[in-house]
């Protein structure tokens, strides 16, 4: 395969022609959203340029602490995003479970992936570690948000059912029964669905990037397969943990359903 063809600056600038095109369409359609389009494009450009320089710096460091720091930063930003999306929808007891679930649910599969599957040398090699950490944390973030939201909704709308089950002698886990599996399904199904369409309906971004970079498609699919497995494991474990830790937050130690979500 040939080397990746470098994009000269003026050719990169030429790609902004598409932004101009959308701005013109927005103007003719009187959408009034011109600012939104160019601000988004500007932010995307600045963020990616900064990320490029940062990653370039990190890749040259090859230090375990640097790789771990980047992972923790990703997990931290993911948590802030999750808190924002779930604000006002969950109580503080459930909120407290998000950090341990996300941390364990993403770190363990990532460690397994780096040490056993990729067998990178060193295991924290930023070239592999950072992009894969980004994909697992990003997907787990979506999964945990969906799962937590569904769990909180179930305990709100299904209160009568859970309370009746407790009255009849059910343990809290049995009383919550179906709601736990529903929340797990709701959170994991998007990942499963994306696996179903992969390679037929769309080519995943990572694989496309590798092919553009000159990697043989046969080699890039291997990476895509193992990464999808890692994402599946990470999303599954993160959601499982939040459900197992989270449903207990709705009960006290006397197996009583708490009045409020918090």
């Amino acid at each position: 395969m040939s080397e990746l063809q470098s994009i000269e600056i003026w050719r990169m600038a030429a790609s902004y022609f598409f932004l101009v095109l959308v701005l013109l369409m927005s103007h003719f359609l009187k959408l009034g959203r011109g600012n939104e389009f160019w601000v988004s494009a500007l932010r995307m450009t600045i963020q990616l340029v900064l990320a490029g320089y940062l990653l370039d710096l990190v890749f040259r460091q090859q230090h375990v602490l640097v790789s771990l720091l980047v992972l923790f930063a990703m997990q931290g930003f993911a948590l802030v995003t999750i808190y924002g999306r779930l604000k006002g929808k969950i109580g503080h007891r459930l909120k407290n479970m998000l950090a341990p679930a996300l941390f364990v649910g993403t770190t363990l599969p990532l460690a397994y992936f780096m040490i056993v599957v990729i067998a990178a040398d060193p295991w924290y090699a930023p070239r592999y570690f950072i992009p894969i950490a980004g994909m697992t944390v990003g997907n787990s973030m979506t999964g945990i948000t969906l799962g937590t939201e569904r769990l909180a909704q179930a305990f709100c709308s299904g209160r009568a059912r859970i309370e009746e089950s407790l009255m009849l002698g059910a343990s809290p886990r049995a009383a919550a029964g179906n709601y736990l599996s529903d929340a797990f399904n709701a959170a994991v199904i998007p990942t499963v669905n994306s696996m179903l369409g992969m390679g037929i309906i769309f080519l995943p971004g990572m694989m496309t990037g590798q092919i553009l970079a000159g990697v043989s498609p046969l080699n890039s699919i291997k990476y895509q397969i193992v990464i999808m497995m890692c994402i599946l494991g990470s999303v599954g474990l993160t959601v499982y943990l939040i459900i197992q830790l989270g449903f207990r937050s709705f009960f006290n130690d006397r197996a009583q359903l708490l009045e409020e979500a918090d």
Partner: protein, 225 residues
């Protein structure tokens, strides 16, 4: 017979205050009073679904705080005012509550006999979303009675039933207590009818006991028509 419940200086959230109450085992005890008087709260306290702010509740001589809460609820099963009926068939509902209690389900013959007694003849495989309000209430009662727990706590078990069906329920409970030596603590507005079957009555108003009659314990228990 040993008291099934003893309450001492119990209060809950300014909703209910019970200075002292003994409910003898093997009896049918009625709790009545206007809406908002604390009747349902009283049952929930006995079922350990909520915890009292102060005071102590003893179940068969043991502080309920020292009993595993799930095991206590299996001994003293509660049925709410409008029982939640699970999706699926009538049989699915009965199976589920047996699973909750980790008990082997009773024979189909026994289930059908009980359903028939409560006017639900041939309902075993019926989908619960096709049941009327009264049928749901009776199913809620049947699935709890089939568990044959030591004690049953019933919140308005006849609220959605006509007088004839109400009598059937009260008669069954009367016999259940008499033959099985079990205890029933029941909330009902209908003191005139329910009171004929009970051994003791407590009337609540604004969370306070305004009347406590327990003379029925002295009488010979007989079926009431």
């Amino acid at each position: 017979m040993e008291d099934v419940y003893r309450l001492r200086e119990v209060s809950f959230n300014r909703v209910l205050t019970i200075p002292a109450l003994n409910i003898p085992g093997g009896s049918l005890f009625l709790v009545s009073g206007p809406s908002g008087s604390g009747k349902t709260t009283f049952l929930k306290l006995l079922n350990n679904l909520i915890a009292c702010d102060r005071g102590e509740i003893l179940y068969r001589g043991r502080d309920i705080l020292s009993i595993d809460p799930v095991k206590l609820r299996r001994k003293a099963v509660m049925v709410s005012h409008s029982p939640y009926i699970f999706p699926g068939t009538v049989y699915d509902n009965i199976l589920l509550v047996f699973n909750f209690n980790r008990k082997e389900i009773v024979s189909q013959e026994k289930i059908e006999k009980m359903l028939s007694h409560f006017g639900l003849d041939g309902f075993l495989s019926r989908q619960t979303n096709k049941l009327s309000g009264g049928e749901k209430q009776r199913l809620g009662l049947v699935r709890a009675l089939l568990l044959e727990s030591e004690t049953i706590l019933l919140d308005e078990p006849t609220a959605a039933l006509d007088e004839e069906n109400s009598r059937t329920v009260y008669n069954y409970l009367n016999n259940w207590v008499q033959e099985g030596g079990r205890s029933v603590i029941m909330v009902s507005h209908d003191v005139s009818l329910a009171g004929r079957y009970t051994d003791g009555t407590m009337i609540l108003d604004k969370g306070q006991i305004v009347e406590l009659r327990q003379e029925g314990y002295a009488r010979e228990r007989t079926a009431v028509d």
